[in-house]
C-alpha cells in the first residue's frame, strides 16, 4: 500500500519538472513584461532597460528558469507587481480563503447529491426519480454563471439575505468570534450555489450505479442468504455504487482548491480563482506562473489522491 503510494509519488517528479518548464516558457512567451504598463511618453527607454536588466529579464531563459526554480525551493515566488508584495504570501492568503469556500462547497455538494442519487436510483422511474432527473438536466444545461448571477441577484440583492461581496466584513476585528461568523456568512451564498451546481454529475453516477448494481448477481446472492433488504442495499448495492464517486473525489477536492473562477469573480470573493483572473488582466506574471504551476500540481495531486482513495475502497485496484 505505502509502496504503491511512494511509487506514484516518484512518478510525479518528472511530471512536475516538465510542468514547470512548460509554465515558465509559456509565461516568457506572453507579450509584454511587468514594466510595459509603466511606459508613458516621458519614459526614458534607457531607464526601462536598466530596470529590466536589474530584474534579470535580459538573461537567457534557462538562466532565468533555474533562478526561478531555485527561488521556488526557498519558497520565494517573486513579487507581485500589481500587489507589491511577495507572491507566496499573497497566494497563501488567497488559498486560505479558497480552502474554506471549497470545503463548504464540497460538503454541500455531497450532502445534496448522495441522498438524491440514492433516491433516484433506488426508486427508478418513480416521480421522485423523474423530478431529480429534471433537476440535474437543468443544472447541466444552463451555464453555471447564469445560476451564479441570479443567485447573487435574488438572494444577495433583492432578498438581502447574504453579503454580496468579499470574504469578510470590514468592520470586524480579525480573530474575534464576530470575525469568523462574518467569514462564514460570506461563504454561505457562493458555497451553497456552487455546491448545488456541482451535484449533477455525482447524482447521475450514483443513480446509474445503484440501478446497475441492484441487478447484479451478488445482490441476488445476498438476498438468497436472507439478508434484510435494508442491509442488502447499504452493504452490497450502495458500497459498490459509490466506487465511481470515490474515483473522482481526489480531483474534486483539489479542483475546488484551485478556486472557481466563476464563483469567486461573480461573488467578488478574494480567492485563488479571482486572483488568477485579475493577475492575467494586469500581466502580473510572477503570480500567473506561480498559480499555473500550483494548479498543475493540484491536478497531479488530485490524481494521486484519487488513486489512493480507490485503492482503499476497491480491493481489485490494490497493487502488491
Amino acid at each position: 500500500m505505502w509502496k504503491t503510494i511512494l511509487r506514484r509519488f516518484l512518478v510525479m517528479i518528472p511530471q512536475l519538472i516538465l510542468l514547470s518548464v512548460l509554465v515558465f516558457v509559456l509565461a516568457k512567451m506572453m507579450p509584454g513584461d511587468p514594466f510595459t504598463g509603466m511606459i508613458t511618453p516621458q519614459t526614458d527607454p534607457k531607464q526601462l532597460d536598466a530596470l529590466r536588466a536589474a530584474a534579470g529579464l535580459n538573461d537567457p531563459w534557462w538562466t532565468q528558469y533555474f533562478r526561478w526554480v531555485g527561488n521556488l525551493f526557498q519558497g520565494d515566488l517573486g513579487n507581485s507587481y500589481a500587489y507589491r508584495r511577495p507572491v507566496t504570501g499573497l497566494i497563501g492568503d488567497r488559498a486560505v480563503n479558497t480552502f474554506w469556500l471549497a470545503l463548504f462547497t464540497l460538503v454541500i455538494s455531497y450532502a445534496i447529491s448522495i441522498p438524491l442519487g440514492v433516491i433516484a436510483g433506488r426508486f427508478e422511474d418513480s416521480n421522485r426519480d423523474k423530478a431529480i432527473q429534471v433537476y440535474t438536466f437543468i443544472l447541466l444545461a444552463v451555464p453555471s454563471f447564469v445560476f451564479l448571477l441570479f443567485s447573487l441577484l435574488i438572494f444577495g440583492y433583492i432578498l438581502d439575505w447574504f453579503p454580496t461581496s468579499g470574504y469578510v466584513s470590514l468592520n470586524v476585528d480579525a480573530g474575534t468570534p464576530a470575525y469568523w461568523l462574518s467569514r462564514f456568512q460570506h461563504i454561505l451564498l457562493p458555497g451553497l450555489t456552487a455546491g448545488l451546481l456541482s451535484t449533477s454529475g455525482t447524482i447521475q453516477y450514483l443513480r446509474a450505479g445503484v440501478i446497475d448494481n441492484t441487478n447484479e448477481d451478488f445482490v441476488r446472492t445476498a438476498r438468497s442468504k436472507g439478508v434484510p433488504e435494508r442491509v442488502v442495499f447499504s452493504k452490497h448495492i450502495l458500497r459498490n455504487s459509490l466506487l465511481p464517486i470515490a474515483a473522482f473525489m481526489g480531483n474534486s477536492i483539489t479542483g475546488l482548491l484551485g478556486g472557481s473562477i466563476y464563483v469567486e469573480t461573480i461573488f467578488s470573493y478574494q480567492g485563488m480563482g479571482q486572483l488568477f483572473i485579475s493577475s492575467i488582466g494586469t500581466r502580473d506574471y510572477s503570480v500567473i506562473t506561480a498559480l499555473t504551476l500550483l494548479f498543475g500540481f493540484l491536478t497531479l495531486l488530485g490524481n494521486l489522491l484519487s488513486d489512493i482513495i480507490m485503492s482503499i475502497v476497491d480491493p481489485r485496484i490494490r497493487v502488491e
Binding site: 445476498a222 438468497s224 442468504k225 436472507g226 439478508v227 434484510p228 459498490n240 476497491d314
Partner: protein, 339 residues
C-alpha cells in the same frame, strides 16, 4: 407412495407470470412437484423452459413489481407463496440455500470471502464472531479450499472460477439448510472443474441428507448426479420420474428428443440429432393443447390431448399429454431435407 415425513417441499399448481407490457405471461405454468429428503432432483429443459424461474419462485426472489406467483409452495406446513418478507428472510439461507450459475458475478467484489460466508450466519444464528469465523473456516475446508485461513481474508477476484463456485456453495450450506437449490452450478465452469463441483454437491448431499434441486440443461450432469428427473418444456412439466426410468424409458416425445440429441461416443450412427424449432417465447406460447406439438408436426393432432394432463406410466413416473403413446421419430432424411 410418498411418506409425508420425507416430504421437504410440496409445490402445487405453481404459476409464475412475468409482465410483458401490460399483460402477464406464465413462465411457469401449473407445475406440481415434490422434493424429498435425501434426494437430488434434477430439473432439465432447454433455455426458456422455465426451470430457473421455478427455482427463483421457490426462494421468492422475483421482483414483485413485474412478477406474479400463484399456487402453493408448501414447506413445513408453511406456504412460501405470498409469504411476507421478514419471515421469508428467515427461511432464505437458513432453510433454503441457493447456488447460482455464474460464480464470477455471484460474489460481492468489495467483501472478503470470510465475511461473505459469515453474513449468512449473522442473520440466522446467535453465534459470536469467533464462532462464526470458526464455522467459516470449517466450511471452507468442507468445500475443498486448500488453504482456508488464507482464503478467509482474500477477495473474490483473487480466486479462480472453480474456487469461487466452492465459495458460493459454502455460502449456500453455511446454515445446513434442508433444501439446496443449485441453478446451473456448473454451466460457467470448464469440464474438469464441473466434475469436481458435482462430486462436491453429491458429498454434501450425503453428509447433510438435504434435498437438492439441481437445475441444468446438461443431460450428462443429470445422468451422473440425479435421483429423480423433472423435464420441463415451455413452462410446463412434461415428464417426471426416477433418473433410471427417465433415461432407460424416456416416454414424452420431448424427453426422447432431448436424449436422442445427446451426442453418443459409442453410438453406431455418427448423426447429430437436433430438435427442430425453438422453445416459444413467453408471448407466443400457445395457451391450450400440447405445447410440444408444434415441434413434432408429423404427429397427428388427434394424438394430443386438448387439455394435457399427467399420466402415470409406471411407479413414480409421470408423463404429460397422450401424444407419447403414438409418438415415433420422423424419418431422419425427411427431417434433413426439411431443415
Amino acid at each position: 407412495m410418498e411418506k409425508p415425513e420425507d416430504l421437504l417441499l410440496d409445490i402445487q399448481h405453481l404459476h409464475t407470470a412475468f409482465r410483458v407490457g401490460d399483460d402477464f405471461y406464465d413462465a411457469v405454468d401449473d407445475v406440481n412437484l415434490t422434493l424429498r429428503k435425501d434426494e437430488i432432483l434434477a430439473i432439465v429443459g432447454e433455455s426458456g423452459s422455465g426451470k430457473s424461474t421455478l427455482a427463483t419462485s421457490i426462494i421468492g426472489l422475483h421482483n414483485p413489481l413485474n412478477t406474479k406467483v400463484t399456487g402453493d409452495i408448501l414447506y413445513n406446513n408453511l406456504n412460501l407463496v405470498g409469504l411476507n418478507e421478514p419471515i421469508y428472510n428467515r427461511i432464505r439461507g437458513n432453510d433454503i440455500g441457493m447456488i447460482f450459475q455464474d460464480p464470477l458475478a455471484a460474489l460481492n467484489p468489495l467483501m472478503r470471502i470470510g465475511d461473505q460466508i459469515a453474513e449468512t450466519l449473522v442473520y440466522h444464528t446467535k453465534m459470536t464472531k469467533e464462532q462464526r469465523d470458526a464455522r467459516v473456516l470449517e466450511l471452507l475446508a468442507q468445500v475443498g479450499i486448500p488453504n482456508p485461513q488464507r482464503t478467509f481474508r482474500q477477495y473474490p477476484h483473487e480466486l479462480s472460477g472453480g474456487m469461487r463456485q466452492r465459495i458460493v456453495i459454502a455460502i449456500a450450506i453455511a446454515c445446513k439448510p434442508p433444501i439446496i437449490i443449485a441453478d446451473e452450478p456448473t454451466t460457467a465452469l470448464d469440464v474438469t472443474i464441473q466434475a469436481q463441483i458435482l462430486d462436491l454437491l453429491r458429498d454434501i448431499q450425503k453428509e447433510t441428507h438435504s434435498g437438492i434441486i439441481l437445475i441444468t440443461h446438461d443431460l450428462g450432469v443429470v445422468a451422473e448426479t440425479a435421483d429423480r428427473v423433472a423435464v420441463m418444456y415451455a413452462g410446463q412439466m412434461v415428464e417426471l420420474g426416477t433418473a433410471q426410468d427417465v433415461f432407460a424409458h424416456p416416454t414424452h416425445p420431448y424427453t426422447r428428443s432431448l436424449l436422442r440429441s445427446m451426442p453418443q461416443a459409442d453410438a453406431d450412427d455418427d448423426e447429430l440429432h437436433v430438435i427442430q424449432g425453438v422453445v416459444p417465447s413467453l408471448k407466443n406460447m400457445q395457451m391450450t393443447g400440447c405445447r410440444f406439438a408444434e415441434r413434432i408436426p408429423w404427429v397427428p393432432e388427434t394424438a394430443h390431448e386438448a387439455t394435457p394432463t399427467m399420466h402415470e406410466v409406471g411407479p413414480d413416473h409421470f408423463v404429460q399429454c397422450t401424444c407419447y403413446k403414438t409418438f415415433h421419430f420422423q424419418d431422419e432424411d425427411a427431417t434433413q431435407s426439411e431443415g
